[in-house]
Symmetry: D2
Subunit: 481 residues, 4 copies
């Protein structure tokens, strides 16, 4: 035959419903790990546990859920609508933060603003009158709008996220106060989800989430009300965001030989990345822009910047790409007599999803009558996008159907203010409250969650070790060695 049959790595980012691993290499590396996950889930039986909790009779809990609904109807829906009509893009959500923290302070929360050095990030804590030495329940809320060609808009319904969290927190606070349940509620205001660098990674590195025993977040969806399988994965590939800053020496155009052209270096690097594409596995997605490409044509540009999003299904090979690109940047600098500085500004990695919490959430969605329930669990995918927080702290993302339109659209913005959106939001608030309530009041759930999270963390480490071994020969050696 002309060419030997070479089995190209299977790319099936969407096809496989169950496992996040999408390439043949990942499947190979993950095989023993996936077996372990299977065994773990078989032992924990999360669906059975969830079923039992959600169907238990508990008037205190039911009263609590009614309060959540009332809080939404009373004030939170109006707050969600108001933020929806006053969109602010990432890092500039001043009005939203002002409004939200005012509400929290009024509810007796201690609010710390500007945490982790981020102006529009905040942490609001409330300790039970029965003491803080119970579980710490964390709720994450976003509020940044999308940047559209016609200005900022809430086409991803982040406007609703914090009001949803507040409604849940209000219900829980009333219950804990009334029933003298010790514990703490913490609302985390996390800015700029739609633009880099990832705020949650920064906050996580600064220790902001330390102490939380569980974290929940809600998010809009146009898909349907679903849950994830236990495991690790992400929505949109692992990502490294890096700026490459080239510096040269200016000179007038008419004596350009006295200069060293940073734009030539940047363009050479940008082109080199294209040249590398066939030396990288085809599942890579690498795209860049040149936000600074010189100012005046009559002066040799002495500064130019290239900005890349580098994506790959797994983080091990992603780091190999990062390294190849760093070499490409340094090579372009050497070739042009310029210098280059690398500024990594964003990292997204696989997150952990827990069968115990996913199934519990789903049982409550069923119980409370969430619309458009999806029977099959989706691929694993941490409850927040950076992945890092989910590796540290167990949690779950709550996503009831809230729009007829896909994410990031004007259609989804519209549904922000209709019954479809409002119904989804209050559902999210109630499910969130129910999950936290069960976690607060059922030690056996807390134990199962902790066990599963610890086990999956260890398996993730094992999986990455296996991946490194698998890629070893390909990644490690270069022609120079």
């Amino acid at each position: 035959m002309t060419t030997t049959l070479l089995c190209v790595a299977a790319v099936a980012l969407c096809a496989a419903p169950a496992y996040a691993q999408s390439t043949a290499t990942e499947h190979q590396a993950a095989a023993p790990v996936l077996q372990s996950i299977g065994a773990l889930e078989a032992r924990l039986q999360p669906a059975r546990l969830a079923q039992r909790l959600a169907s238990a009779s508990d008037p205190g809990r039911d009263r609590m859920l009614e309060r959540v609904g009332a809080a939404w109807a009373g004030e939170m829906q109006a707050l969600s609508d108001w933020i929806g009509k006053h969109p602010e893009v990432g890092w500039h959500e001043e009005k939203a933060v002002d409004t939200l923290t005012k509400v929290l302070r009024a509810e007796g929360y201690r609010v710390e603003a500007g945490v982790a050095g981020l102006k529009t990030a905040f942490v609001a804590s409330w300790d039970s009158p029965a003491g803080a030495n119970g579980p710490t329940l964390g709720l994450i809320g976003e509020y940044d709008a999308l940047r559209g060609t016609q200005g900022a808009f809430h086409g991803d319904q982040h406007n609703a996220q914090t009001p949803v969290a507040l409604a849940a927190a209000l219900g829980l606070r009333a219950y804990m106060t009334e029933h003298r349940v010790p514990g703490r509620i913490v609302v985390y205001g996390t800015p700029a989800e739609e633009v880099g660098p990832p705020a949650k990674t920064i906050m996580w590195k600064a220790g902001v989430f330390k102490g939380a025993d569980i974290l929940v977040r809600s998010h809009s969806t146009g898909g349907g009300t679903g849950r994830s399988q236990a495991g690790f994965g992400d929505c949109c590939l692992n990502i490294s965001q890096v700026k490459y800053i080239f510096k040269g020496r200016p000179s007038h155009q008419l004596s350009s030989w006295n200069g060293r052209n940073a734009l030539e270096a940047a363009v050479m690097f940008y082109t080199a990345v294209d040249r590398l594409r066939s030396s990288l596995r085809p599942e890579a997605s690498i795209q860049g822009v040149i936000p600074e490409g010189g100012v005046a044509p009559n002066v040799v540009p002495d500064r130019a910047v290239v900005d890349y999003y580098i994506r790959y299904p797994d983080e091990v090979y992603l780091e190999h790409i990062d390294s190849m690109m760093a070499h490409a940047a340094r090579g372009a600098a050497e070739a042009t007599g310029t210098t280059v500085e690398l500024q990594p500004y964003g990292e997204y990695r696989d997150g952990i999803s827990l069968g115990t919490l996913e199934e519990l959430k789903y049982a409550w969605e069923k119980k409370l009558g969430a619309p458009k329930l999806l029977a099959e669990p989706g691929r694993p995918d941490g409850y927040e996008e950076t992945g890092f927080v989910t590796r540290d702290i167990p949690g779950v993302g709550v996503t009831a159907y809230s729009s007829r339109a896909p994410n990031h659209t004007y259609g989804m913005l519209e549904d922000d203010f209709t019954d479809i959106g409002h119904t989804g939001f209050v559902m999210d608030a109630k499910v969130m409250a129910a999950v936290l309530y069960d976690f607060l009041t059922h030690p056996e759930l807390r134990a199962a969650v902790r066990e599963e999270h610890k086990a999956l963390s260890g398996m993730l480490t094992q999986y990455l070790t296996e991946l490194k071994k698998t890629y070893g020969p390909e990644v490690g050696s270069t022609a120079a060695n």
Copy 2:
């Protein structure tokens, strides 16, 4: 979420054992067609038919098969070994052709050499003394060696192919003569399989294969003795092979501004292809070389050539890539004041494999005791690499296990001369003869083969039409429209 979950087309070139279609787009387009194939096979029941034929008692056939074995042992094995030890690369197989055609002439074949304008291609025909108005049985034989870093070598065992075909033909000829069965045997000598352009496409376009009712070919394998599923596919993606020839204007280096630099154009085009990679689906595999990149550095190069293999899982999107690359070449020419000429020199497309013949072959392999039988049928894959011949004429490739080493290796060369190779080769000869015998003597098999081939041809057309529709919006429109 930062980015909407975009389901990237699933690439699983090896994973799917049954269907050749490897991308999500193909699966979508092929879905109704695959259903039709299923219905067709359910109706024809090829395995059952095969079973019946292979297990039938038939002393004439058994005698014929003995003769095939004797022909191999008597002369053909020595001929295979001799060619194996006198390797000649594609288009230069003079000694092999001389030797083979001498044998055929001695056996009473009319030999036409240099067919289709190809020096080392030939057609050898023998008509039964009972008349030629029976079925025409075609046997394809290759004989070119691989180009290795240490010279030519038969690491793909093409040396055995024509001796195998001759052994089968000798057995059949004796049978037809003795039993006065009308019909014709044609041996097709097809050169240069390992290098482009594809000889069989050229011969097919020249009408060389016209008149054959069935075509068989044997091939070595290190994998195991197997068969393909019915359907269409190929081993190594659909391929377009194109040379891009840039022409400029020469000038001395010291007055280079009087020249137009064809190498600059070629390098610009080569780089443009890299620039296009992210505008093409990731399953594409495009690789090029610059076989002519100028001669003397003190003269502006006025000629430069870039040579590309362009591959894609399906031929519809492949044509889109061909068109994008043609635009890239013309753009590079315009940008540099040069001209470009495109020379497409090779085409490989999905071939058709027939359940009737695949199962019959497999039944004979079982019956005759072929080594290392594979239980599961492989993905569809025409019996010759270009695909085109298989769309016109029904046929089957016979591939009994003949080496412990993979294709294209020195290990496979070694087994050329050991029992492992020799056993595989004589098995191929016997199976080939048995399949042709059944085709010659069983009208109901001929009818089933014809029906299946016609139906699958129609479904291939339907599938391609569906693919075109699916790609339409993406492929058809450009920014200019």
Copy 3:
């Protein structure tokens, strides 16, 4: 010999003191024209005429010059200093224009602001009480500051230009009023000299300068007080300024194959220009920037802009380069499936300098005791940078030594406010007034200026025709022909 001796075109941009033509091709094309210029100047004897005029006894004129000095000392110096301390960059000189037009209105000028569609351009006219049917004397004034890394600053002393013109105009107005001399004085406020597009070309195309019989402008210099030879040329090569705007189709990064990448097109074009360098004569100076190179790395850039200054010693070959670059841009668009639009926004061409006016200016500089007189005349160079105005209307640039530092420096800014600057400025005002006075009052000077200007205009046309012929075979034919 290894290589034939190929005589490379002689580039001597500075060496030749007398002629603007700097390449061998230009010298060849200009040879007969330079002879004609020599003959013209020999006949007109401009130095002798100038000597006679400047040494003539004329109390009215002397009184006028005193008034110019007084006007400078009285108000104009303070105005120059004020503008110098309130720098405004090109197209934003609102405060300067406000202040200057207020002064002009106060002096009885009709002021038309925003001429030619340019917000900070103006024309101020004053008609003699003796009637406007005498000569129209034009004075050009600039006022834009440089853009520096620490903000705007008057490092080229444009702050002084209009106050200098006003001082001269005040003296002349008083004289014309007192002596009842018919005629008109027009002050042209021309913005944004330091940034493109060239305001004077725009104003000229809009007919703003129509009707002027002579135009004068002053300019700072750190070199010495000099004059130009008669002929045509420019300071800094002929220039074309062009933006190339690429448009593609956006798509999310994860489905980049649905997009067409405008940044790839822009980068391909930018690189193509480098590829063309060796196919262009080495005297070309071409430099570009990428002011728009995409915004978000997760969206396929659908717009990117490249901005070039293209320079060549002569305008004929410059147009050839323009055309080669247009082809390169279109080629890059075709290669990437994008579109491109060309936006030429600036043109600078050779200007005409007149021996009659240059020598007259120089005679006055000598007579009035200007500092650092340069004995040798410099290369021809129109009195304003675009060149076009000087081809239409005779004129002269007045440039007395006004700084110890070179142009475009903080040193030159400093001297704006010291005796060195002030001395140079008042000298410019007086010389300007004296030249205009002589033009107004000596019909034989007017006749000589008109004759010389008409003759040189014709010779420029002849020279360009010759150049076109010379370049013909090289420029006209491409490989395609």
Copy 4:
């Protein structure tokens, strides 16, 4: 003004008849040196000395010149014609060397073939019967043909060079034998002048020319019979010839990510050189080809070669370019994960021409009636192209008019066999013999030649030191420092 007037270095490769220095930088660096050369020549008065020698009455010398003419007519012209009709390209001049060394052996020369490791180089020596302890007279002869599109041809008349040298040597040998003059005659057979690497540099580095007191060479010309001024220079810029060999890692196209693509590296480097052009002075002439750009499109190319001629008017800045390009190559290797090896294979540098020998040659050309005498001396230019030999050993190139056509043409080949060629060749032989005769018999000439050569060598060193100083700030610092 928009841009300060920046004086671009004057390039006048042909214009300046007298000095080799062609850029403004060179002129500046060379100014004191050129003064010293002027003073040296004024003191030595070479034209006067030459006049005296050529007009002296000397019957022995006249008899010797007659013998030269007879030798040419007797055998050498036929030998020249024979080589002219049996052209052999560089490094393959076997027949020519065979024939020539046979003649030399027959004349009593000791012939050493294959000197300096070069198969077709030779040294042939003859010692006077009066002893070898007189001057050693060296004659250089070439014999390689040009490569034309229709095969090899002697379009540069190298066929005549060694026969011319032999005719001169025969005359001198007869004279030295008869008159018992001690000394030695050495004929140097130097191959492959038309192709790299430069044979004479290799022979010089191997010490082949050691011991020669003077070297002469003849060469055809279509220009006229001329001489050079004293000084240093070259015909066609200083040249560095370098191959850049990139090595990667092969892999099949369908798993290209396991490879490292050497062709991508080569193309990136080739493109990087274009990117550097505007960062290099415009007098640079850099041109390359890609003689090895991959073989098979289905294998990742693991080897690619770029071959460059790098030229600059002076060798100091040339080394700066060499260094910038080495960085570009290494940068391209780093960027692509490949390695690069630099193979410099040719160097051409300014040579020394001596007034004493140039004027002596010219006086003889006049005296003997050479055709088409050029009155003005040309720019300095060593007597052989590499320049290096001329820095070590004094010498002169003899170039009487020998064709109506320019060098490297079929017209010049034609004249090889006509009176025009034959007349020029015998003239060269006689002038060569006369110059060597004077050098042999006039100690005061030897002293003057030695003094001038030593002084000019020193001045060349001084000039290069000055150049280094001048370029220092520009060349030495990079953005990284």
